[in-house]
């Protein structure tokens, strides 16, 4: 169905080829997962399928891309609309009309589909994606998961045989992601649509994939069975890492497969030493650090309103120095509003927030920066200068810090970065690191991050966790609002669950997360509490080995 024949792609003037001699074939009806670190050309590979690369992006493409026998060289994207449907990263930016029904019909109108057929197809698509109750709704009133399903429906009505999706679940909370995946699987199973999906959150998709296309940082692409690809992939979901650690074969891709493999005594594993060992290890995980009792942030009766909507209802929260706290909950449950109010950046309708004894809402902007530093969801909103160095100098000036403070932070968080680069040219992870450095320049008492893992691959996420743990060890209180359950498990000492603006749960991460079916990380689902992360398992095993030798 999709054939890449020795495809090379690069931009004129750039020394690096984005795609390098790609040869691959995806047969009809398969779900192929495109995996790889951020910024290696996953989106380029997807764009090449419907000819958007290079027809609308520019650049030079050599070789041949065939979709359903049509060469993208001769067919620009608009002529392939009935063959390939492409859904972008941010569905709301791709909507052309105002309501769900019109959006579903838009593509067909362009293709001059007869009106009677249009009616039928709109109804079928509404049912297929489970969005019939949304048909008259305005597009901007939909939640993220609904928008994603409408965007899929909008390209599906044209009757394409290939669907190309770029990060369909990255921005979604676990529940909404499941809705989208369920809809997608129904298309693959019932209609035999060929799907090409790029996704950072491999743990959500890999178990359903028929094939994994791994894009390497040199621009080559390898196509393999999921289990084979995962055995060596640099990006892998926790369940796969657990399987690798335990030496399970075949490698489990789903929680269910891993659970069946766990519990059994592993055979002697040559690669990991001569000692047979049990998963989970007999020694439990190290008890989480007890944070110092020194409370630095006190929120009392906090209420945040946006017009008639109450985003946060009477929240009481205390944060201690050196503590990492995850605020979690569905999309739209008030996580962001709580963070903005804690940072003093939006005035609460009622209640008080004191940081280190000072009322933060009445503090002057500069003083406030020294109390709380917030990294917003769209971190790049904070960047407006031409180079990284300029941004750093500006941050030093804004924070009245000694020159070079911010640059030193950037080096610490990101490692060596070319400071003459334009901030917009940095990867999502690097932008986040830069903004974090800008906000840390003022040495705030509490650091808050809103949804920081959007668009980050596993390596960038791990780096972020290390940095945030270091910050906590330095005595900052760290608060992260996220629906990324794996991040919560790796990072947080304490988890707070928000639902409909109310604080529903507040306690040690293990207790909050492990009992919840949607919030439990994969390792907890496989091994049961108190296990949360692969790192815990590996550490416990090392201790076991030391004990065994000693």
């Amino acid at each position: 169905m999709i054939v890449f024949d020795d495809v090379w792609f690069g931009y004129d003037g750039a020394d690096r080829q984005v795609l390098r001699g790609v040869d691959l074939e995806v047969p009809e009806g398969e779900l192929a997962l495109v995996a790889g670190p951020t910024g290696v050309g996953k989106s380029t590979l997807l764009g090449a399928v419907n000819g958007a690369v290079p027809h609308s992006t520019g650049g030079r493409l050599s070789g041949r891309v065939l979709v359903a026998g049509l060469d993208t060289r001769d067919h620009p994207p608009r002529d392939l609309a009935h063959v390939v449907g492409r859904v972008g990263q941010d569905p709301s930016a791709t909507f052309v009309t105002g309501t769900v029904e019109e959006e579903l019909a838009y593509g067909m109108e362009q293709l001059a589909v007869p009106p009677a057929t249009m009616r039928t197809r709109v109804e079928q698509t509404l049912d297929l994606l489970g969005i019939a109750d949304l048909r008259h709704r305005r597009l901007d009133s939909l939640s993220g998961g609904q928008q994603q399903r409408v965007a899929i429906g909008a390209v599906l009505t044209a009757g394409p045989r290939v669907l190309v999706l770029d990060e369909p679940t990255s921005a979604l909370d676990p529940g909404a992601a499941e809705e989208v995946l369920a809809a997608l699987l129904r298309l693959v199973h019932d209609l035999g649509v060929t799907c090409l999906v790029a996704e950072h959150r491999l743990e959500r998709v890999v178990e359903y994939a028929d094939r994994v296309l791994t894009v390497a940082s040199d621009g080559t692409v390898r196509s393999a069975e999921p289990a084979l690809a995962m055995a060596t992939s640099v990006v892998a979901p926790p369940v796969v890492e657990l399987g690798r650690l335990a030496g399970w074969s075949p490698l489990p891709l789903s929680v269910r497969a891993a659970r069946r493999a766990a519990g059994a005594v592993c055979p002697v594993n040559v690669a990991n030493g001569p000692v047979a060992w049990r998963i989970p290890p007999a020694m439990g995980p190290v008890a989480p650090r007890r944070p110092a009792a020194d409370v630095v942030v006190r929120a009392r009766g906090l209420v945040v309103r946006h017009g008639a909507t109450v985003a946060v209802r009477h929240a009481d929260l205390e944060l201690a120095a050196g503590e990492t706290v995850a605020v979690t909950g569905r999309n739209g449950s008030g996580k962001s509003s709580l963070l903005w109010a804690l940072a003093g950046a939006s005035a609460p309708a009622a209640g008080t927030v004191t940081v280190a004894g000072d009322d933060i809402t009445s503090a002057a902007p500069r003083a406030r920066r020294r109390l709380a530093g917030l990294v917003p969801q769209t971190a790049s909103d904070l960047l407006y200068l031409e180079t990284v160095a300029d941004e750093c100098a500006q941050a030093d000036a804004e924070s009245q810090a000694t020159a070079g403070t911010c640059a030193a932070l950037v080096a610490r968080i990101l490692g060596p970065v070319d400071t003459d680069r334009h901030p917009r040219d940095l990867s999502a992870g690097q932008q986040l690191g830069l903004v974090l450095a800008v906000q840390l320049t003022a040495a705030p008492t509490v650091v808050l991050l809103d949804e920081p893992t959007r668009g980050l691959d596993y390596a960038a996420k791990r780096r972020l966790v290390v940095v945030l743990r270091e910050l906590a060890a330095d005595g900052h209180a760290v608060v992260v609002a996220t629906h990324d359950v794996e991040l919560v498990a790796q990072l947080a000492d304490r988890a707070v669950v928000l639902a409909d603006g109310e604080l529903v749960e507040d306690g040690p991460t293990v207790e909050v997360v492990a009992t919840s079916p949607t919030l439990a990380p994969q390792v907890a689902k496989v091994l049961g509490p108190p296990w949360l992360t692969v790192d815990q398992v590996a550490a416990a095993r090392e201790r076991e080995e030391v004990a065994g030798h000693g």
Binding site: V96, M108, Y384
Partner: protein, 380 residues
């Protein structure tokens, strides 16, 4: 390919009074007729009644889309127009000699500006001058409310969808602009919030830049995403057009435009010969229409559930036109009703004719199909 499906498949639309949205053009004609009527009179009672009619119809038949909720803002804007009109009168209207029997309400110090063409600032404010300014503001406000009513009653996007196929590109661009504006506003709010997080330091130029740069970058990225999405969904596909037809369309459109220009010029300039006036103008219009029709055949699109023009649409238009006719007739036949004497101020009177018109204009509030409301979302 026309947008007509076999009638057996659309039994619902055959019953014109079942709940549905009226053709947007019908509401716009109705509302513009109201605005024309408002321009005919300075009778405050009639103007207020007109605004009331617009309000009642809007409340009864507006949709639940975003722009429909903006009607309240049009009322506010109308009030602001009245206030501004009165303030202007107070500020710039000085120096008018007060007629006998016209009480001076407020005596303000007059400020002569001989260098500015003999203007006088402030000065005596008479009751009749204040009244005239208020009524003038009221008339402007009434027209504004009429436009607001049209906006609230008819989806402007649906109106754009009804443009002839040849103007489809223009329509699409406008639709996108309408969609993008609220997104731009949202992006400004977001970036300003982010700006506060950095402490808001720096010069005014820096502050402006720190908002404008991210917002523009955001807008450009969104536009590119939207363009790519439209492209990959088939926007801009064209049927194969023979060279001759393309030349014909170009010639007809350019010829038509030139005909329009020459014709209008000749009509307005008395010295040009008669044959250069109306005949050329009509010829230009005809050429432009034929050009648009031929160009429209190049666009291969269909319409999903096109708005249909049925009896209630015609009725609504007639109601609006009836009101405009009644007000025009009143202005001619009963000048004292349409334009009451202001100096000295007299209580405005009413007569049968304009009231009949108002009653007619009110009919669409009940005699048109109800609006189909979006169902409440099923709670997840």
């Amino acid at each position: 390919m026309t947008g007509r499906a076999p009638l057996s498949q659309l039994p619902v639309l055959l019953s014109p009074l079942l709940p549905r949205s009226l053709h947007p053009l019908a509401w716009w004609v109705w509302a513009l007729a109201l605005a024309v009527a408002a321009a005919q009179t300075t009778n405050p009672l009639l103007l207020l009644a007109l605004v009331l009619v617009a309000c009642v119809v809007v409340v009864a038949r507006r949709t639940d889309q975003t722009y429909a909720r903006a009607f309240g803002w049009y009322l506010v804007a109308g009030a602001v127009v009245i206030v501004i009109r009165v303030l202007f009168r107070v500020l710039f209207g000085g120096g008018d000699a007060a007629s006998p029997g016209d009480p001076v309400l407020m005596s303000l110090p007059a400020l002569d500006l001989p260098w500015a063409g003999g203007w006088t600032l402030l000065g005596d404010l008479t009751g009749s001058a204040l009244l005239a300014a208020t009524i003038d503001g009221l008339r402007l406000a009434a027209m504004l409310v009429c436009v607001g009513a049209a906006n609230s009653l008819a989806d402007p996007r649906r109106l754009l969808k009804s443009v002839p196929p040849a103007l489809h590109e223009v329509g699409a661009a406008t639709v996108v602009a309408v969609t993008v504006l609220p997104q731009l506003a949202e992006s400004v709010v977001r970036v300003r919030g982010a700006r506060r997080l950095r402490g808001g330091a720096g010069s005014r130029r820096d502050r402006l830049r720190s908002v404008v740069v991210p917002v523009l970058e955001d807008a450009v990225e969104r536009s590119l995403a939207l363009a790519a999405s439209m492209d990959s969904r088939g926007y801009g596909r064209r049927a194969a057009v023979p060279e001759g037809s393309r030349l014909l369309v170009g010639g007809l459109l350019i010829g038509g435009l030139m005909g329009l220009l020459v014709g209008v010029y000749a009509l307005l300039d008395a010295t040009t010969p008669y044959w250069l006036g109306l005949p050329v103008l009509l010829g230009g219009v005809a050429a432009a229409i034929v050009g648009l029709a031929v160009a429209g055949q190049r666009v291969r699109r269909t319409r999903y559930r096109p708005d249909r023009w049925l009896a209630p649409e015609l009725f609504t238009v007639l109601c609006g036109v009836a009101l405009a006719c009644c007000f025009v007739a009143t202005a001619n036949a009963e000048p004292l009703v349409a334009n009451p004497v202001l100096s000295p101020p007299s209580w405005p009177t009413l007569s049968m004719l304009p009231c009949l018109g108002l009653a007619a204009a009110l009919l669409p509030a009940v005699a048109t199909p109800e609006v189909q409301r979006a169902r409440e979302p099923v709670p997840a």
